[in-house]
């Protein structure tokens, strides 16, 4: 069910820890996803613009320096303002309380350190299939 699903991956803000997102990109590609990775230092507007242009099924953002609340709030606001219903995954070093808060804010899933590749794929597949159903 995952063939040709498209996902946009990005880092936001000034954080430059990209091991997690590069690894997730590889796992999703291996699972048949078309991955569009736009690199570091993106702002919410850029992420939304590319998501629309590329007509993606999901967005994944990774954080490791404590900017997840500010950046996710801004991104989810932009997505709502544009009337889009693209699920946004968020991953990285995120305290448990913040992970709960991010889900309440509207993140589809929060993927935490130590999640193995098959589980990442299962979470993304599950959400996209649920939204399509």
């Amino acid at each position: 069910m995952t063939a040709h699903k498209r996902i946009l991956l990005a880092k936001m803000g000034l954080d430059c820890h990209d091991t997690g997102i590069i690894t997730v990109a590889s796992a999703l590609r291996d699972a048949g996803y078309e991955v569009i990775y736009i690199g570091l230092h993106n702002q919410a507007d850029q992420v939304v613009k590319v998501a629309i242009e590329e007509d993606v099924d999901a967005i994944g953002i990774s954080f490791l320096s404590g900017q997840h609340m500010t950046q996710m709030r801004r991104l989810l606001e932009r997505i709502r303002e544009r009337g889009l219903s693209i699920p946004v995954f968020c991953g990285g070093v995120i305290p448990d309380d913040d992970a709960q808060a991010l889900k309440l804010m509207g993140a589809a899933e929060v993927v935490l350190p130590g999640t193995l590749s098959p589980e990442v794929v299962r979470l993304v597949d599950g959400t996209i299939n649920r939204m399509a159903a």
């Binding site: 000034l14 091991t19 796992a27 230092h41 500010t70 950046q71 070093v93 448990d96 309380d97 193995l116």
Partner: protein
Amino acid sequence: MSGQPTSSRAESARDHEEQIFETGAGLEIRDLYRPDDIPGFDAARDLGEPGAYPFTRGPYPGMYRERIWTRRFQVGFGSPRETNERIKYLHAHGANGFVITIDLPTSYGFDSDDPVSEGEVGVTGVPISTLEDMETLYDGFGPDSVSYALSIRPPVSSVTLAMLASVAQRRDVPFEKVIGTQQNDPFYQMSGGPLQTITQFFPLEGTLRLCIDNIEFISKNMPRLNWMVTNGYNLRETGVNAIQDGAFTLGHAFDIFRRARERGLDIDLFPRRASFFLSCSIDFFEEIAKFRAMRRLYAKTMREEFGAGNPECWRLRFSVQSAGNTLTRQQPEVNIIRASVEAMAAVFGGAQSIHLCSYDEAHGLPTEESSRIALRTQQVIAYESGITKTIDPLGGSYYVETLTNQMEQAIRDKLREIDERGGMIECIRAGWLESQINDERIRNQNDLDTQRRTLTGVNRFQIPPEQETPLKIHRIQAEQWGARRAEYLREYRASRDPGKWADAMARLEAGWKNGENMVPLLMDAVQNKVTMGECHEAMRNAQNWSFR
């Protein structure tokens, strides 16, 4: 997988199911090492005495018998005032060396009130936007009495150096008495695959020019200030192996040395104040061998290839941080044990300074409690274990010497490959380093997914999430910190003389275009209340370059 195999088969099957006999970097490990594994071993030539060429046994004669390694404290959060108060508290409790971590906006040369900085002010370190901020950090201390290691790279380190020099001037501290470290590594300071992040906000050639400007200024004026710490740590954290770690780190330092020599600096003087910041990972003997091999290879290269005649320029000194990327979010208490293993490897490897990651690393920024446990771990090793009481206790071990030889050869081979590609800076520019890093990242994840490598709590020996112990978390207040800093900077700018400010900005641009050493010009600028962000804007303008 069923039935009853013979007992000997069962034993070998069980062993091989659980173990792969190779090091983290893939060197084969045999069942036993014997004298003939190190044929021609010559202790005088291959090891030498501690503190003497080729420094295999350690950079100093007495090592830990004379002085236990420095247990540096990392500080930096919120504002310069809060950070200074924390330093005063720690200083009163006996600490005199501090690693000052800088927040991300400052790390890229942005003021706290730049729109780019939103949500990041004071989070991962202290913001420094003005000379007054630097003076606040030094409140109560002279730059000749406490040692601050600023985790900062050019272009920003040129501005922080100018601020430090200005603080010294204002306090009547002669430059030659200033102590401390400007990390000043142009490439590896920012974590992750470095290429995009070092070129996003400032041109690469400009960054390199400032790196050499700093070395020139420091080596001519501040003989006690460390001018460059090659940051192998952040590089290793991307997932590269110990051999790549050694080669990419040394290759990068040698490339910078060549550039400094081209600037006319004396190879018998400037390398004395170079040092290294290295990771110590979990593969115990491989890390020990890596440190010993890097020390020997550095000594040989400095003496034989660079032609340095001053023994101080042959000596590789390094600080260590334990490997954050070996830690897990699951069962986080286990991370204390991982850090202990890594700290012991750093001690057997002869580190000058050690900082251990806190066990809550994969949950958030460290708390006071988790930082304290990291320090206590070092104290147990230093004062209870006894492993410090003789120098290089593993020297002469058939295995450790074999592995040291193998690591040295493997790092040397990799360095040759780097040289053939035009040196490390060219390897970074061409994206070759990035692809090396990415290959390793994917290999590492695959090793975990397939259980080729065990990560306790993640792919084996797991417990259900509800059995995990809840952790206290360091709360960040990015939005309040940002608002307070914006208010401060508005007042700072309102209080300055606009004419003097504009003249200083113009001198920065002109000086850049004339190829002058930028440090004295930046001193002039910050003393005329040009901010960190404005210094960078002027230098970008001088290069006709913009990212906005």
